[in-house]
């Protein structure tokens, strides 16, 4: 689920054609923030009621945007994998027994809807116009729907997805900023390998296109300045030495991760094999992981451990999808980490940078990266890159260029989120 629409087809078409989903934010007036653009999902791209089974439409009322993203991505993933679930055919036996299907979905901090909260509190103001808890406790809180809290619990992404598709196996919600999606895929791999599930719905989703989302990213100095009317696409330039910050996106991805035997026995078509995974924690000068300047060895450790897990050498990696946010100090530390692993070969390995096209989608970003990596392997093609020039200065190949065919056996997805959790996934061509 991305600013290009539901499913891999519109995303892949957009990425290859060099389009961008970055556009002015229209859901609210963003003019008071440092940025006024994001790779948003347009109302016509996502009608959540049409995505869920008819008997589940009522529940869409308690879905925050982040939940909608995960639910839409899961529907697309289930269709793409050719799975029958409770949602695709009520009363028909599911392809995989529900108790053998797990679900791991990365999520962010979901802010309450300001309109909903403020309108409920209008009669609970003190003399200064601030909040009066006395009146709120007495009566005001009854203006909120009883299920209000359930719109905003991070595990509600996985909760709705497990209910819709009847996944009764191990289920988890990882909340490690941009690494959440990759960590979720890693956890699914571990759960399948230890025999607790045959398949998992894995990934992540988030929208930070909200007042609190923009505010927190502003406070963390991560956003490129894009005033009203300025071009948002050229504002985000991953690995460009003149990069000034990132642009946010709404989106996420769910991958059907499946044990080899399960996939083989049902004749499933594999897009890619999840060959290796590892995670690490970065040293953070500021404790909280906004400043990751010292983190290169830790990011490199995750990549090296993922290669070891895959029993592969760095020389076998044909393309890399890093976070590639356009936040200069984060790009620089990613480039440094890649240099530690790939050495002199690094400038010859194409980087795939998604931010200028779909923005940085928080907990969804590394799941989207994994989905795109699988698609690159499947299509033997690299998507276009936009906006960046001069990336050689950071020692990487990330300059703008059109989409091209390429021989791709293995792709590395690497990510480091705010907070310092790092994860690496190796995807390779299925045997």
């Amino acid at each position: 689920m991305s600013g290009f629409g539901i499913g891999m087809d519109p995303l892949w078409a957009g990425l290859c054609s060099g389009a961008s989903a970055i556009r002015p934010i229209t859901a609210f007036d963003p003019s008071g923030f440092v940025t006024t653009v994001a790779a948003t999902i347009l109302p016509e791209q996502l009608d959540i009621r049409s995505v869920v089974p008819k008997n589940y439409r009522k529940a869409t009322k308690v879905m925050a945007r982040d939940i909608e993203i995960a639910v839409a991505a899961a529907a697309a993933a289930v269709a793409s994998a050719g799975l029958t679930t409770r949602a695709t055919a009520e009363g028909v036996a599911p392809t995989i027994a529900p108790e053998r299907v797990g679900c791991h979905i990365g999520a962010g901090l979901i802010p309450a809807d300001s309109d909903e909260l403020a309108s409920a509190m209008l009669n609970c103001r003190d003399a200064d116009g601030g909040f009066d808890p006395g009146e709120w406790g007495r009566a005001g809180m009854n203006n909120l729907t009883p299920l209000w809290l359930l719109k905003y619990l991070p595990n509600m992404l996985a909760c709705h997805v497990t209910i819709i598709h009847d996944c009764q196996g191990p289920s988890n919600t990882l909340t490690c900023a941009e690494s959440s999606g990759a960590l979720s895929i890693g956890e699914s791999m571990r759960v399948i390998r230890r025999g607790d599930a045959d398949a998992c719905l894995s990934g992540g989703g988030e929208s930070k296109v909200s007042y609190m989302g923009l505010l927190r990213q502003t406070f963390a100095n991560r956003l490129a300045a894009v005033p009203v009317g300025a071009d948002g696409i050229s504002a985000v330039r991953p690995f460009d030495p003149r990069a000034t910050g990132t642009v946010l996106g709404e989106g996420g991805a769910i991958l059907i991760t499946e044990g080899f035997d399960s996939a083989k026995s049902r004749g499933a078509k594999a897009f890619a094999e999840l060959a290796g995974f590892a995670a690490s924690q970065c040293a953070c000068i500021d404790t909280v992981g906004v400043d990751l300047s010292d983190a290169a060895p830790d990011i490199a450790a995750a990549i090296e451990n993922a290669l070891e897990n895959a029993k592969m050498n760095a020389s076998e990696i044909d393309a890399i999808i890093p976070l590639g946010s356009g936040i200069l100090n984060v790009d620089a530390v990613e480039a440094k980490a890649l240099r530690l692993v790939f050495g002199d070969r690094l400038p010859k390995i194409p980087l795939i940078t998604l931010a200028p096209q779909i923005g940085i989608c928080g907990a969804g970003s590394s799941a989207l990266a994994a989905a795109v990596a699988a698609q690159c392997i499947h299509e033997q093609k690299l998507p276009a890159r936009l906006t960046t020039s001069g990336s050689a200065a950071l020692g990487v190949d990330a300059d703008a260029r059109p989409s091209c065919s390429a021989k791709i056996s293995s792709v590395l997805v690497t990510t480091t989120g705010m907070g310092g959790q790092s994860a690496a996934i190796i995807l390779r061509r299925p045997a």
Partner: protein, 446 residues
């Protein structure tokens, strides 16, 4: 022979340190002694003026200062309350385990898996921004005004601290841990899940040591609001200490608690190599989803039973078998036992579904009757009570139990602690949204 003994020392996972910060104290012995007295941590809420709220009491952590425990408090100067709780519990566990940079050997092999909650929002300023930016004419928030006010009155460090992975970042900083690092947030099941998955990471050889547990408070305006609207909290107007009544016929909802529980887990191989003394061994973990409804628990207990069965199966324990002494192989169950109508009867049903006839012979209590519900942190704290029960040969009681409920007909260790031989325990946690997690822990035996 149980399955665990078939595992190699690199796949056996032991507990070597424990710590907690709870409404009944901030160290192992103080809290355990309070649990053995059947004490209650409940009192009127002091964090905000809750006098008019349907629920005006909770079990708050009292008189806790994390700075006295830290190497370098300035590194954690902006730590939010969850991070403070997490650090406090983790330092205790780390010390008990006797770990330092030298004994841990390789900090890249020391990972962290927490189930920590979202931080506490800056309620007065956040709500003031929402209210002051309201445009009565359009009936909507004025975005530009919201941005202007929000950026001015909200605090940068405080906002970043609300991210749920911040307790993890603080712990990593304090101990220099560089291994695999995760935070999960599956509501009330989170820290049990964190402990279970940490075991899995150790068994898979991705780390030698894992710091695992959880930290959470939801004792704030929007937290109490949210649970009050869901009618999940006790709204008792009587003595707050009597409000949490798990398994009692008159139970009326849970009481919020807060705090943290942290454990040090390591492979037996690593523990032996550094001469550490294992406190207990983790032998099973099960996780399932109800996939039923967003608000209700699956009424037959299918999901909860699945988690328990999976944990027992991993532990190599047949729930219907008896040991050589004629007793069930599980000696104690730390119940999720929230004190809501639905949870306690369905958990009882699930335990009966798993253990059949033997269910009545297995004592099961809820320390939430004394500590309140620590939400994401509950599982880790309850896991620690299991290890303490194993060591002390005492079972913590379910207090406030006086009216038997025909739907809750097991042995809940009513009101007073009980001496017992305790070798093997299950600890259950079930979260809103249908996540069910169970861990199985047993006395360490070479």
């Amino acid at each position: 022979m149980s399955a665990r003994n078939d595992r190699s020392p690199s796949e056996r996972v032991v507990v070597s340190g424990m710590g907690w910060v709870t409404p009944l104290g901030h160290d192992l012995e103080t809290v355990w002694a309070a649990l053995m007295r059947g004490a209650s941590g409940m009192a009127p809420i002091t964090r905000f003026d809750a006098r008019t709220f349907p629920t005006s009491f909770a079990a708050e952590v009292k008189n806790f200062d994390v700075n006295v425990l830290l190497k370098d408090p300035t590194a954690h100067a902006h730590a939010g309350i969850n991070s403070q709780f997490a650090l406090g519990a983790a330092v205790q566990a780390w010390r008990q385990a006797g770990l330092d940079v030298k004994t841990a050997r390789n900090m890249r092999r020391v990972g962290i898996y927490l189930g920590a909650g979202e931080g506490v929002i800056d309620t007065p300023n956040y709500l003031a921004a929402n209210l002051k930016a309201w445009d009565a004419q359009t009936g909507k928030t004025d975005g530009a005004k919201w941005a202007e006010i929000g950026l001015r009155i909200l605090n940068s460090a405080g906002e970043i601290e609300q991210e749920p992975n911040m307790p993890l970042a603080h712990i990593a900083r304090e101990f220099g841990a560089r291994g695999p690092a995760y935070n999960c947030l599956t509501a009330c099941a989170a820290s049990t899940q964190a402990i279970g998955e940490a075991v899995s990471i150790l068994r898979h050889g991705e780390a030698d040591v894992m710091i695992a547990g959880g930290a959470h408070t939801m004792i704030h305006v929007l937290g109490v609001t949210g649970f009050n609207r869901l009618t999940a909290l006790s709204t008792s107007k009587e003595d707050p200490c009597k409000a949490s009544r798990p398994f009692d016929l008159t139970r009326g909802g849970f009481v919020m608690g807060e705090g943290a529980g942290m454990v040090i887990l390591e492979t037996l191989e690593h523990a032996r190599a550094r001469g550490a003394k294992p406190l207990a061994e983790l032998i099973g973990f099960g996780s399932s989803a109800d996939s039923y409804r967003i608000t209700d628990i699956e009424p037959t207990g299918r999901g909860a039973a699945a988690a328990m069965l999976q944990a027992l199966s991993q532990a190599g324990i047949d729930p219907h078998a008896r040991g050589a002494d004629g007793r069930p192989l599980v000696d104690y169950i730390s119940a999720h036992g929230t004190g809501t109508k639905e949870n306690d009867s369905i958990e009882t049903l699930a335990v009966k579904r798993v253990f059949g006839e033997l269910a009545r012979e297995i004592p099961m209590s809820s320390v939430k009757s004394m500590l309140g519900h620590l939400i994401a942190a509950a599982g880790a704290v309850e896991f620690i009570t299991c290890v303490m029960a194993i060591h002390r040969g005492m079972l913590p009681p379910t207090i406030n139990y006086s009216n038997p409920d025909p739907e809750c007909d097991l042995d809940y260790v009513a009101n007073t602690p009980r001496a017992a031989r305790v070798r093997t325990c299950l600890s259950n946690s079930f979260g809103f949204g249908g996540q069910n997690d169970t861990v199985c822990v047993t006395a360490f035996d070479e």
